[in-house]
């Protein structure tokens, strides 16, 4: 039978661990709520951008922009991988890295030069371990990515794309579907496939709207007055929608990270509780058998004396 004292010690340390994991769970919950609020706020923005685009389409404007067109040349591609700075969040970082590596290999076969950019310490380490050094790495994105910071990166990509230094931009991140479901996904952000915000609302495709409007465009009637002109606004809408798409990726990643951590810590806390139960039982048994043993010894001694 195990030593009762050793068991007690072990139980104490498990209890401490449970305290820590429980606290981490609570912290993750609080952060998740904050991150979620921000993500919802961003949805208001994307919704309105989509609205403007569909209004533009209704004005009979052909939705075309350099950012929307696929490139012939396959020279430069860029893969942006969004991971967390910290671990203890279950399979969150692992699934991203597992998705990113084969995708990177594919891109490298297809394109002449593929740059790799990674956000998050975990991803940098995991990819570095596999011999994939990041060309650019970001460590400053935590649970509340700032738009200004994302905008900086987005503007650099836009500039590179416009000047031909970049032909394709893919982002690997964890997409937030619902609170109980987050999926690691690869999304091509440049060239922009469609302008329907970040929501996968199939009926809100402006491409279709443009076609529909194409028929009605003959009369060219739109109730809106465009200042300065619909084309000029479109020119501005497309980059804005790209920026907000990229921002949304960061927000989704942040929300998903907190959820992953919350879930991981919750199950860790539950496991620790179960372990404590088990240990308590073994400890009680060990203690009881120790006492029984001692009593037997005393009785034996008394009998030997008598």
């Amino acid at each position: 039978m195990a030593n009762a004292r050793a068991l007690d010690k072990r139980r104490k340390s498990v209890r401490n661990i449970r305290k820590i994991t429980r606290t981490m769970e609570l912290i993750a919950t609080a952060r998740f709520k904050k991150a979620m609020d921000r993500a919802t706020a961003a949805t208001a923005y994307t919704g309105r951008i989509t609205q403007v685009v569909s209004d533009l389409a209704q004005a009979g404007l052909q939705v075309s922009h350099p950012l929307l067109e696929a490139r012939e040349s396959k020279e430069n591609a860029l893969l942006l991988v969004l991971t967390a700075n910290r671990g203890l969040c279950g399979g969150y970082n692992g699934s991203i890295v597992r998705l990113a590596i084969p995708h990177l290999t594919n891109l490298r076969n297809e394109y002449g030069r593929v740059a790799l950019e990674v956000s998050g310490k975990r991803g940098i380490n995991a990819l570095g371990f596999r011999g994939l050094e990041a060309d650019e790495s970001y460590l400053h994105f935590e649970d509340q990515p700032k738009f200004v910071e994302v905008e900086e990166i987005a503007d650099r990509y836009l500039e590179d794309f416009a000047s031909g230094r970049l032909d394709r931009l893919d982002v690997v991140y964890t997409r937030f579907v619902s609170i109980s479901r987050q999926v690691a996904t690869v999304e091509t952000l440049l060239p922009i496939g469609s302008l329907d915000g970040t929501d996968d609302d199939p009926k809100a495709k402006p491409g279709d709207a443009a076609k529909d409007a194409g028929g009605a465009a003959g009369d060219g009637d739109s109730m809106y007055e465009f200042l300065p002109s619909a084309e000029s606004i479109l020119e501005e809408v497309v980059p804005a929608s790209f920026r907000v798409k990229l921002f949304k990726c960061f927000l989704d990643a942040a929300v998903s990270e907190q959820i992953a951590r919350m879930v991981a810590m919750k199950s860790a806390t539950e496991n620790a509780g179960e372990m404590i139960k088990q240990l308590s039982m073994t400890y009680n048994r060990a203690r009881q058998s120790q006492i029984t043993g001692e009593i037997m010894e005393i009785i034996g001694g008394v009998e030997a004396l008598g």
Binding site: R38, Y224, A230, S232
Partner: protein
């Protein structure tokens, strides 16, 4: 009297959502005032000061490009940033302007980027000084 519902959204938050009497916005080429009953409009914003008047109260913001959509007495402003004028720091804006002016302008693209940064910083400085 009819009122305008003014909604200002940035990617990070909904900065303003309230009933107002009058909204003045910096368009790409000058200021635009919107009173209740304005005709539907989609416009491109520049950098500068947005004023929202409700009652005798005037709120002032610095807006950083974007769009405005006016429809049925609803003014939706989509912008990258909407900073209350009181929160802008004139000295910081001046530094931004100085930094923007020092940017290289050796090619047409770079020149464009520099000009944009300069205009942006100037507008910030202007709004900050008025606060």
């Amino acid at each position: 009297m009819a009122q305008l519902n003014c909604i200002v959204v940035t990617p990070e938050e909904t900065a303003v959502d309230e009933q107002t009497d009058f909204v003045a916005l910096p368009l790409y080429d000058g200021e635009l005032g919107i009173a209740p009953g304005h005709s539907p409009l989609i416009g491109r914003l520049g950098y500068g000061e947005m004023r929202i008047r409700s009652g005798g109260n005037v709120q002032r913001f610095y807006v950083d490009g974007g769009f405005v959509q006016v429809d049925e007495n609803v003014v939706s402003v989509l912008t990258n940033r909407a900073v209350p004028a009181g929160k802008l720091d004139a000295s910081e804006a001046a530094e931004l302007l100085a930094a923007a002016q020092k940017k290289p302008a050796t090619s047409p693209e770079l020149e464009e980027i520099r000009d944009k940064a300069v205009v942006q910083a100037r507008a910030q400085l202007h709004v900050a000084k008025r606060a």
